[in-house]
């Protein structure tokens, strides 16, 4: 059974994503930050990790990097909120978001996906990655 680990600081998102993956027949575990997620993979292993990009503690890019270093075969999807939660500055924050996504890909994420997405888009992307 394909094992999926979901990392997001928002509980609502963790729960709904877990439910979706369970219904699709995946073995699912959730973590609320990068460190917790990494520990889960070390304990039980994972075929796919789906992580939010902006989180307290280690963010999605660091998490993706750590996972890629330790578990080269695990597929990684990084989700972005599309905007920025940082302070208001003159630099359009989407630059930061895009830079985040680009750096996530650079450190080894297999796919970046922008919130909000619908169920079909997510499942399609995950199936493509896991059935490779």
């Amino acid at each position: 059974m394909t094992r999926v680990i979901i990392i997001d600081d928002e509980e609502d998102i963790r729960i709904v994503l877990k439910e979706i993956f369970v219904r699709e027949g995946f073995d699912v575990a959730v973590a609320s930050d990068g460190a917790e997620g990494l520990n889960l993979i070390r304990e039980t292993g994972a075929d796919l990790v789906i992580t939010d990009i902006i989180m307290p503690g280690s963010d999605g890019v660091e998490t993706a990097y750590d996972i890629r270093m330790e578990f080269p075969k695990t597929k990684i999807i990084v989700m972005s909120g599309g905007g920025n939660t940082g302070p208001l500055e003159y630099e359009p924050t989407a630059i930061a978001t895009n830079a985040y996504l680009a750096s996530a890909e650079a450190v080894g994420a297999d796919l970046t996906i922008t919130k909000p997405f619908n169920r079909q888009e997510l499942i399609k992307a995950v199936r493509e990655l896991t059935e490779q």
């Binding site: 998102i13 709904v16 905007g83 989407a94 922008t114 919130k115 909000p116």
Partner: protein, 501 residues
Amino acid sequence: MAGALKSISARMVLAVLLIHAVLLPLLSYGMLTLVHNVQEETFIDHVRIYSRVFADQMQSGGQLANEDRIIEALDSSILGGRCVHAAFELDGRRLLSSMMDKEDGDKFEEDFSFGEHGDNVYYLSTPLVVGNSMALLELGFDEVPTLLAMASARTTILTIVLIYLLVTVALAMALSTLVSSPLQRLRHDSHKIASGDYTRQMSVDSEIVEIKELTSDLEHMRSTLVGINARLEGEIASREAAEEERRKAETHLRHMHRLQSIGTMAGGVAHEFNNVLLPILLYTDLALEDLPEDSPTRPNLERVLRLANRAKGLSEQILTFSRPSSEAMTVHADIAPILDEAMSMVRALIPANIEIRIGIQRPLGPLACDTNEVQQLMVNLCSNAYKALLKGDGGIRVVADNFEVDPEFAAQHPRLEVGRYVRLTVADDGEGMDSVTIERIFDPFFSTREVGQGTGLGLSVVHGIVTKHEGEIVVASEVGVGTTIDVYFPHAKLDKERPSK
């Protein structure tokens, strides 16, 4: 009048007149006296000589022999025209010429100067010896011819003096004109300069050295003034231009900052919004899956899902505005076909009774762009133009051409550089906008329309697309006349044009 008296001509004539008023009477008086004296002396000498000679002739001619001969001689002197009075006195006896009245003849009184007694007769007695006794010849000479000659001489002298006076006054006037007419022209030229006509060169044709020098000095002043003036005007113009440029750049910067901060905020809001929207979408989907096919709740949940998807679309539009980064853009050698496609979409969206005139230059480009975004931009601009028409009649004009930005145009639009651009123009003759509205049209959710008649995102999406393509938007609008929006996209640099790095 007082002014006229102060002119050079008047002063010179006045001076001549003043000098002559002193000199001429003296001169005339002197000359008249001289002439008078000469005439008088000549007359007196003449009558004395005549009397003496007459007396001598009487004595030597033997005419003293008897009284008849004496009277005959006296008569001859009067008949000769020289005398008006002739008498002879011998031994107490008076003999008178028969040519004169008795009474007149008694009135004898010797003159010693011309014009004495006021009777116009000059009396003179000449003594002569007759035998052993003394006789006296009394002759009276007419003074009138001499007086007439004197009057004539006086008239001549006065006439000459008058002519002399007139000639000198005329000369003074001519001389003063010689000086004052070039001065008048100088004054005229200076007046022109004083009233702002600096370009007129000062040249006065005069032989007079002082005027020549004055003219050349004034001309020097004028040319210096023209130089200074031109420099000052240039400085003022360049300062004004610099000020204008600074003001434009400032306005532009302020506008950019505002849009950027709005973008930042919109991005932040969108992020939070998306984090909320995502579970809504997914939970609704899951809930729908769990519901029996015939559940009465299904249509409601389907509605929630549809609305959540619409919110997703909105969020994507907001992010288009706040995301100026360049994502993958393809270079198109000619974007005319892309615009054709966009315009056919526009035509389908806008009612057929609205006239849309389209002019697209071919080939248009090359342009590095996101095809979908350029099409969306055209659709948004046209739909905005159409909405401006809703309150009145009119049409939409769409023009797309290659445009050369020259230094002057670049100076007016800080975001444009000198070079080739694709210009997309969408113009309507709709309601137009005031400057306050123009300032805000690119703000997300800014709409001039009633609530519910549009999201107010159309032009902010246009702005996001233009920024991403490093282009520029120029809005010109007048209330009641219409709005023209020009979008400039820089031509793509082809490899052969790009300098090697």
